[in-house]
């Protein structure tokens, strides 16, 4: 199978799905693909950068709120989406500056990113009063920000055309494949190889002459930007944002998606997200509490039994059963 074959299959599948699925399923799959983008953002920084961020939900939320604020005030959703990406990437860059240039340890980094998320949750929760507004956009506290404009096609000289579910599905699916392809190019580039070296042994890489600090900063900012893109799309998809996007549950969910799919493969993050979301949907959303207990248990079990990820463990077992060894590492030219 050549390298582009899986991509061709993916494009065909995404194109064909609206023909076979119901409108409701299309809407749902759209949000799962948005979540997949979020999972992808974590896999980039964790799987390739070796830096565990508990704060991807924060960038997702910031991206969504930025989309809402700019979208409501300007009416342009293209501008709003750009603002979502920029806002989240900016926050990630700021945090990355203080942590990577301060050389704080990986555990401190994880705790700080989680703390930022938790505090954003509380801060956004206190914005119920109408005086907390940016221009026309009311933040709305725990009731959330409402009337966020749907993603629209904007051609200069014409009225913006709000995207229906199927075109929106294509836009999100296209963006997911595009981001997947771009991150793949990034991790296989010269930059990506040095990043892998930093993940393997940071001091050794420094002593070979590479500055790990800005490389981590850039990677984290890109990761934050992707999470922000997902947040913006989410806000445009549901016309609504509330502080629950910053909750412990949501933050943990992102980690679980990537742990199920296996980190360091990119496509694994997408598969993991789709599997977890379809399963939780299938098992029913009768009680959030049961889901919380189940996800908590899943997290503990995966860490204890399948630290490399659930699907890679399954894949490994299948390979052993079939008798085909794992592929050799990619060779550097």
């Amino acid at each position: 199978m050549t390298a582009w074959a899986p991509w061709a299959v993916a494009v065909v599948v995404v194109t064909a799905l609206p023909a076979v699925l119901s409108a409701f399923q299309i809407v749902q799959l759209t949000v799962f693909m948005i979540y997949s983008l979020l999972a992808l953002s974590l896999d980039l920084i964790w799987g390739f950068g070796g830096i565990l961020s508990f704060g991807q939900a924060a960038f997702f939320g910031v991206g969504g709120y930025c989309y809402g604020i700019v979208g409501i005030n300007s009416g342009s959703t293209a501008l709003a989406l750009t603002a979502g990406v920029a806002g989240a990437a900016g926050l990630a860059a700021l945090l990355g500056y203080f942590t990577f240039y301060g050389r704080v340890g990986s555990m401190y980094f994880a705790v700080i990113t989680l703390t930022v998320t938790l505090i954003l949750h509380q801060v956004m929760g206190t914005t119920a009063d109408p005086r907390y507004a940016v221009g026309q956009a009311r933040l709305g506290g725990y009731n959330g920000m409402t009337d966020i404009p749907s993603l629209a096609l904007e051609v200069p000289g014409r009225a913006p055309l709000t995207l229906d579910p199927v075109p929106l599905f294509y836009v999100v699916g296209g963006l997911l494949l595009l981001v997947l392809a771009l991150t793949r190019v990034l991790v296989q580039s010269s930059f990506g190889r040095v990043l892998a070296a930093i993940r393997e042994d940071e001091l050794r890489t420094e002593l070979l002459g590479y500055d790990p600090r800005w490389r981590k900063l850039v990677t984290f900012a890109i990761s934050g930007g992707i999470a922000g893109l997902a947040g913006g799309l989410f806000a445009g998809w549901g016309n609504f944002m509330n502080p629950q996007v910053f909750s412990m549950f949501q933050s943990a969910l992102v980690v679980i998606w990537v742990m199920v799919g296996g980190r360091g493969t990119l496509y694994g993050a997408v598969v993991g997200t789709l599997v977890v979301q379809f399963l939780t949907n299938y098992l029913g959303t009768a009680s959030v509490t049961y889901t919380t207990v189940a996800l908590g248990a899943v997290l503990v079990v995966i860490v204890l039994l399948f630290p490399r990820g659930l699907l890679p463990a399954v894949e490994g077992a299948v390979r052993r059963a079939v008798g085909r060894p794992a592929p050799a590492p990619e060779f550097a030219r």
Binding site: S106, M107, A252, T292, A297, V300
Partner: protein
């Protein structure tokens, strides 16, 4: 004059709460080098212990006395069933305790429901000029000192403490001396959990008891411990004092939420300057 006294008391109270709630996590972090993300749920279980005790007719004081035992045992069970398999894998330990945190919140919600239960605050008030101070807050401050004293005593005057300090310096050496470091980590984790149980029990009458009780404190506790760094008592006390002061001053002039935001900002700047935490300058110790 009264205002100054009351404000000073308020700041002292904020610092003491922070230290009391963070101490257990600081013990686990200082000794084992891992952040236990389920620590907030240990506080919550401590608070529920008091709730159950009072519901069965016992006094709040009995509940506060029992809570460290209950949560200490819970910590022991968790260490034996989960944590001990993950030594040396710091981030995996964090992930597992995170799962534990979600699971405990979920389980307690299933059993007790998501509502907040109140516990009547014991003790009365003292009047200072135009202000009323609750005597219970004096008790909270005393308990923070008691927690610090207890930790100091355990690590300095007991055989466990001696072995624990030696393990912290060099666990290979201790193994060579015939002490099993795993036992020390087990004891440390249980002790850290017990301290959290105490903290959660003490604040239960003030906050009310709810499955998400820990969420209100967890951000503050994490910040305090990582800013404090690896030296348990000195680090926690210093960072608790600095951050508690920042938090209460900002909270007085705006809202408690911005107090936390200010804490976080100060913490991030401090870590930029002192990446090992305030006490990172000193060697590891108690």
């Amino acid at each position: 004059m009264d205002f100054v006294a009351v404000t000073a008391f308020g700041i002292l109270y904020a610092i003491a709460t922070l230290i009391l709630l963070a101490l257990g996590l600081a013990v686990i972090f200082g000794m084992m080098g891992v952040i236990n993300l389920a620590q907030a749920e240990f506080l919550m279980v401590g608070a529920y212990t008091v709730l159950i005790a009072t519901a069965h007719g016992a006094s709040v004081w009995i509940g506060i006395a029992v809570a460290p035992v209950v949560v200490g045992l819970l910590g022991l069970v968790i260490e034996r069933t989960i944590i001990r398999f993950l030594y040396g894998r710091i981030l995996d330990t964090m992930l597992a305790t995170w799962g534990l945190s979600l699971g405990l919140v979920g389980l307690v919600t299933l059993v007790f429901g998501p509502t907040t239960e109140g516990i009547a605050t014991p003790l009365g008030h003292v009047i200072i000029g135009r202000y009323r101070l609750s005597e219970y807050s004096v008790f909270v401050i005393l308990m923070a000192f008691a927690g610090l004293g207890l930790t100091y005593a355990v690590f300095n005057y007991t055989r466990f403490g001696l072995v624990a300090r030696a393990t912290m310096q060099n666990d290979n050496m201790v193994s060579a001396l015939g002490v099993n470091p795993a036992r020390v980590y087990m004891g440390t984790f249980a002790f850290g959990a017990a301290l959290a149980g105490l903290g959660g029990a003490v604040i239960a009458p003030l906050t009310g008891v709810v499955p998400t009780l820990g969420l209100a404190f967890i951000a503050k506790i994490f910040i305090t411990v990582i800013v404090g760094g690896p030296v348990i008592l000195l680090g926690t006390t210093t960072s608790g004092a600095v951050l508690g002061l920042v938090e209460s001053l900002v909270s007085y002039s705006s809202t408690p939420i911005y107090g936390q935001v200010a804490m976080l900002a100060v913490a991030i700047i401090l870590l930029r300057l002192l990446p090992q935490g305030i006490s990172g300058f000193w060697r590891r110790g108690v």
